[in-house]
């Protein structure tokens, strides 16, 4: 049975015609492969940026060697297929952490660069791309670039957040974050409304490196947007935890869930229990970095619980000015469209500007929701959300997208696309790109 190449949302189904399972970056011969070509990391993108229907996928996961680790200065150079999980096992014992991490450690460095991922500390340090010192990029014409913020700076800027369209990244050099402990001091505060969530977030961003909020999407009226604001800092106490062993996932979902499993009633129940489990207004914990950064990684392959239809994630950012109102309208539009979501996450992006041309984050509020794939009503509601976002001067995140209308995407990224297009490698493409880039 041939391995299938899927995105995390498992929608759409877009199988490549050829797969090159690259064992050595030394063996990468792009000119000998047939176009369109696309790199594939760990398929943790929700939509189709990591898919290349009827094209060539170059699977990068085996290229996972660490080529240099400067333990004194915290700089690491590794092959692009290494996962953050693997990297952490090596760097954490020496007192270093990745400068930016998404909500799962099962992403590759190449994927982190190509989507210019952000984490709960965006308001402090910007995106992953802000910490990249150098990249090696192979183009389909056989040229190889070593690019840095100052050398081939245009290619560097296009590759960060470039969705794999500028070539194949073979190595990444990134500056790390020093830590004294694996432990996080976390506070979780109950907020009764969206207004409170936003106020608490703004108040927290000054003293807390990591902030994020979970929102109950099904609550309506005055409690619309009620949720939990989580904030945390790495403990500064050298408590000897750096050498601690890592947890394996607690559970692996063996087969696909039935359609009712994650449907509106079960999601409503989950959200109520989740919000209700915290009784007091504020709750303090001293917890390990794994449950803090990667709570979902405890369950391997949780995405298949959504069943054969798969799921979507919607993530947008809107400016802070008028942002609260926009969030309210988006949440109501989703409710009206019958969309129920487990994980709705709200976060404030800061001012740090990524070098990446197509990089998604902009200062403001970002909202993220998971949802099972529904019918036309759901897709229509999301189109209306796009309009609200665009009207506000906001945009949606390609790493999460599987459905945006091409014209809408081009309008959201109009200026950036004008800069980006000339730097694309014409031999590279993806299902996403073919969907959004042309009339």
């Amino acid at each position: 049975m041939a391995k299938r190449y899927e995105s995390w949302g498992r929608f759409p189904d877009a199988q490549p015609s050829t797969v090159v399972d690259l064992a050595w970056t030394q063996d990468l011969e792009l000119p000998s492969l047939s176009s369109p070509i696309l790199a594939y990391g760990k398929g943790r993108s929700y939509g189709d940026v990591c898919l290349n229907s009827d094209g060539t996928l170059v699977a990068m996961e085996q290229c996972a060697r660490i080529l240099d680790f400067d333990r004194e200065n915290g700089v690491v150079t590794a092959e692009a297929g290494i996962s953050i999980q693997d990297l952490l096992r090596v760097i954490v014992p020496h007192g270093w952490f990745v400068p930016v991490t998404p909500g799962t450690k099962y992403v590759t460095l190449g994927g982190a660069v190509a989507n210019d991922v952000h984490g709960k500390n965006h308001h402090r340090v910007g995106t992953f791309g802000c910490h990249v010192r150098a990249l090696t990029l192979h183009r389909t014409d056989g040229t190889v670039y070593v690019c840095t913020p100052s050398q081939h700076a245009d290619v560097f800027a296009a590759t960060i957040g470039g969705m794999g369209l500028t070539g194949i990244i073979t190595t990444v050099t990134v500056a790390l974050l020093p830590i004294a402990s694996r432990m996080i001091d976390e506070e979780s505060i109950k907020a009764r409304s969206l207004r409170e969530v936003i106020e608490l977030t703004m108040a927290s961003d000054h003293d807390w490196d990591y902030t994020v909020s979970w929102i109950d999407v099904l609550a309506s009226g005055s409690s619309l947007g009620k949720g939990l604001v989580l904030r945390g800092n790495f403990s500064t106490v050298s408590d000897g935890t750096l050498q601690a062993t890592w947890n394996e996932p607690l559970l692996r979902i063996p087969f696909q869930g039935p359609a009712w499993l994650l449907s509106k009633p079960t999601i409503a129940l989950f959200n109520t229990v989740w919000y209700g489990k915290q009784f007091g207004r504020m709750h303090r914990r001293h917890i390990d970095l794994e449950p803090f950064f990667y709570p979902l990684d405890a369950v391997e392959r949780w995405n298949i619980l959504y069943g054969s239809r798969g799921m979507l994630q919607y993530q947008c950012v809107v400016p802070l000015d008028g942002g609260e109102d926009a969030m309210r309208r988006i949440l109501s539009t989703m409710q009206a469209g019958g969309i129920s979501s487990f994980l709705a996450v709200l976060k404030m992006f800061g001012a740090a500007r990524s070098p990446g041309i197509m990089s998604f984050p902009r200062p403001g509020l970002t909202l993220t929701l998971d949802m099972p794939i529904g019918g036309k009503r759901m897709f229509d509601a999301l189109d209306r959300c796009d309009e609200i976002v665009h009207e506000m001067g906001g945009r949606i995140y390609p790493a999460k997208d599987a459905r945006v209308n091409g014209a809408m995407f081009r309008a959201m990224y109009a200026d950036e696309l004008a800069q980006f297009r000339p730097l694309i490698d014409p031999g590279m493409s993806s299902t996403f790109w073919r969907r959004v880039s042309e009339e």
């Binding site: 049975m1 041939a2 399972d21 064992a23 050595w24 970056t25 030394q26 085996q62 060697r65 660490i66 080529l67 240099d68 680790f69 690491v76 092959e79 090596v90």
Partner: protein, 250 residues
């Protein structure tokens, strides 16, 4: 008994998928490794990775392992670098396409030279070193394919059979001398060597590697990995030839 985690290790064929994973597991524990492989830039990448993961020191020797005249020098250099050798892992090999070999005597013999003759050359030389030391573990990566000749891979299988038998003999010879010999028989492993072929019970090299490290620590003599292959191959070996020839699937 003294600590059984080897810390001074020789790896022949250090760029093979299984060897890389075994080396990583020892590197994390601070081992000192002597890595031999043919492709310079690849083995340099492997060595850098092992250093980053915690190896105390890694030396690299680039050589075409078919050239038997360099074998003695490799053994010599590794002794100089490591002093006492705790463990030697012989992991190199090629998986030729049997259909091509069916009509090519020279290619068949060439594959035998790599998979059997050069392996035996290293095994023999290092056996002598370990015997002289009176300590150490010698690990040979053979294969379940060596347990019975099959139409789909008998040239590879015959070479592995030679390796298995040679290691079995060394084991008997060296047991009394404080030297441990481990023959590893992986089933199909998902490596670059087998890319494009999908076989039942295929496992990633990482799984085979952790089985090997455990077997070395426990001083196992013959390791089937994954373990079910011990039973499968016992059955396959028991089938009489006149029935076996009819099982075209093999």
């Amino acid at each position: 008994m003294a600590s059984q985690t080897p810390t001074r290790i020789v790896i022949i064929g250090a760029t093979s998928a299984i060897a890389q994973e075994v080396a990583k597991l020892y590197a994390v524990q601070g081992a000192r490794l002597f890595c031999v492989a043919r492709d310079e830039s690849k083995v340099m990448a492997v060595a850098a990775d092992l250093r980053a993961r915690g190896a105390e020191e890694v030396a690299v020797y680039v050589a075409d392992l078919l050239m038997r005249d360099v074998h003695a020098n490799i053994v010599e250099q590794s002794r100089t670098f490591l002093g006492t050798i705790d463990c030697v892992i012989i992991a190199h090999g090629v998986l030729p396409d049997q259909h091509t070999l069916d009509h090519d005597v020279d290619a068949t013999i060439a594959s035998f030279m790599v998979n059997a003759v050069s392996v035996i050359s290293f095994a023999h030389r290092y056996a002598d070193v370990l015997e002289e030391q009176g300590s150490g573990t010698l690990v040979g990566i053979s294969s379940v394919a060596g347990d019975r000749g099959r139409a789909s891979n008998y040239a590879y299988g015959a070479a592995k059979a030679a390796v298995t038998t040679f290691f079995s003999g060394l084991n008997v010879r060296l047991r009394q001398k404080g030297v441990y010999v481990l023959t590893v028989k992986p089933g199909p492993v998902d490596t670059p060597m087998t890319r494009g072929i999908t076989l039942p019970l295929m496992v990633p090299p990482r799984v085979v590697a952790s089985d090997i490290v455990r077997a070395v620590a426990r001083r196992t003599m013959v390791l089937y990995t994954p373990g079910v292959w011990r039973f499968i191959m016992a059955l396959v070996r028991a089938i009489p030839e006149f029935i076996f020839v009819k099982l075209t699937k093999f």
